[in-house]
Subunit: 325 residues, 2 copies
Amino acid sequence: MSIRTPLCDLFGIEHPVLLAPMAGVSGGALAAVVSRAGGLGLIGGGYGDADWLEREFDAAGDARIGVGFITWSLARQSHLLDLVLDRAPAALMLSFGDFKPFLPKIRDGQAKFIVQVQTLDQAREAVDAGVDAIVAQGTEAGGHGGTRATLPFVPAVVDIAKEIPVIAAGGIADGRGLAAALALGASGVLCGTAFFSSNESLANDNAKQAAVSGSGHDTERSSIFDIARGLDWPTGWNLRAMRNAFTRRWSADMDGLMQNLSEEQARFEAASAAGDTDVAAVIVGEAADLIRAIEPAQDTLHGMISQAEDRLWRIGRLADPIEED
Amino acid sequence: MSIRTPLCDLFGIEHPVLLAPMAGVSGGALAAVVSRAGGLGLIGGGYGDADWLEREFDAAGDARIGVGFITWSLARQSHLLDLVLDRAPAALMLSFGDFKPFLPKIRDGQAKFIVQVQTLDQAREAVDAGVDAIVAQGTEAGGHGGTRATLPFVPAVVDIAKEIPVIAAGGIADGRGLAAALALGASGVLCGTAFFSSNESLANDNAKQAAVSGSGHDTERSSIFDIARGLDWPTGWNLRAMRNAFTRRWSADMDGLMQNLSEEQARFEAASAAGDTDVAAVIVGEAADLIRAIEPAQDTLHGMISQAEDRLWRIGRLADPIEED
């Protein structure tokens, strides 16, 4: 069982599948199991917390993993970059913001540098900076993202990236999505929702169950949860998560949410701690339709590879010459 | 050169590519050239105009073509269904609304019946009705559409449709998109933007040029142009088109547009007649990044097939066993 692309050589991995660095969800255990199963696990450094990072790198043991950060947040505590580079990650991924101030330090280390983009201008900037790989992320992704959809966005980024490997993200949770990404010219995929409900994920058990039971139709992009978490996200990105009582209450009344902010932030925090998914955010994408069980991440990854191989073999035959003469 | 899928057998065509029935753009000449090149051209019946339909069916000559309608609008002048069924189209496609009242008449005819869906519930309804094929349309499509993105939506529809062929639509304008759609489990694709700027398209020349020069980033979904055209679209769908001075003027002031409606509708109508794309709607989708020339539709179609064959062959090899033992 194997699908080899240039991305496999770049990262020294068996399967061209990366675990998305979901903040607070992609911990060391999940990253380690994805890497040991032949992919590349990225710890979700998110907004940056030194204790959490130390703990999760420890939890990954001797597995060869990487880490991802939210760029604009890392800029506020850039010492965390030293902390993770000391751990010699296989890859460092930055998303959402200006990565250029971090370039000199990253180039001093051994980690492959991945930049995630949501626009073609961002892709051009990443190419000009000579990054090792570009994640082209579609709006159907869970968590923060932009407006462009994966299927038409990926080939447009591939045309810009030329020799730099492009990793497709957003909406990919099974072997069909992986095969489609390769068809689009991507060299691999980055998956969050596919692993959100893994046994090894740090997501709350109720959130895992909600994701497995839910549909892509139950998700939407908004800024409500960012406001509820007191996060001052820059414009250009918002958060895809599942609709719930909290979003229905405030989606048409953002002013009301702002006026009741401290109370609602406390309610949100308590609900998150208690795993109350009527209020807390279940941060998955449209691929929720394609995940159906809480299972070991290794099973998810190997199922994806096996299904992708089957799809590649079948569609590869569609183009075989019917007769040779 | 050939990619054969069950869709080819269903429609009796050589290539699994359908021309989207773009209202007022997919006329008889364009539909005919797509069909003669081995795909299936669908005339864009749109909101329904008897004279236009007669003229465009005439323009298609003896080419084997189909036709598509906006369902809720057809319901207001259902006699048009008789008009087109008398023309013995190869296929009839309905989108946006309740198709069930038309079922008995359609089943009396010989046309294959295609229903376009934007939600999984609509897909289930189409399956229950026993339609011949389902178009699963993603939000990146130009023109009217819903919220779900093509890449994760198509496999979810395929899982529901089972033996009924699924046609992917939205964001597909080259061979990479076609190959990706097949990887997702679709049996073919329906393309609008790819053919919008064809020589044979009825789009205004300025609009064709704007589409070719534009990017997917220049498009957005809104209801502004529907209001400007005096169309009372039901909720659940809106229109993706290119942003221009008109949308920038009114996007944050829909109330203002309503208050100046007759004046703005007149201005819009005049601009549409004059091909003034600062005001008139250029109705293309995110795949605008992938179209780069005003060219014969036959070249577009054959280029798409040729590129898809190349992609299928390449990615098919990725799954080949490296060694047999």
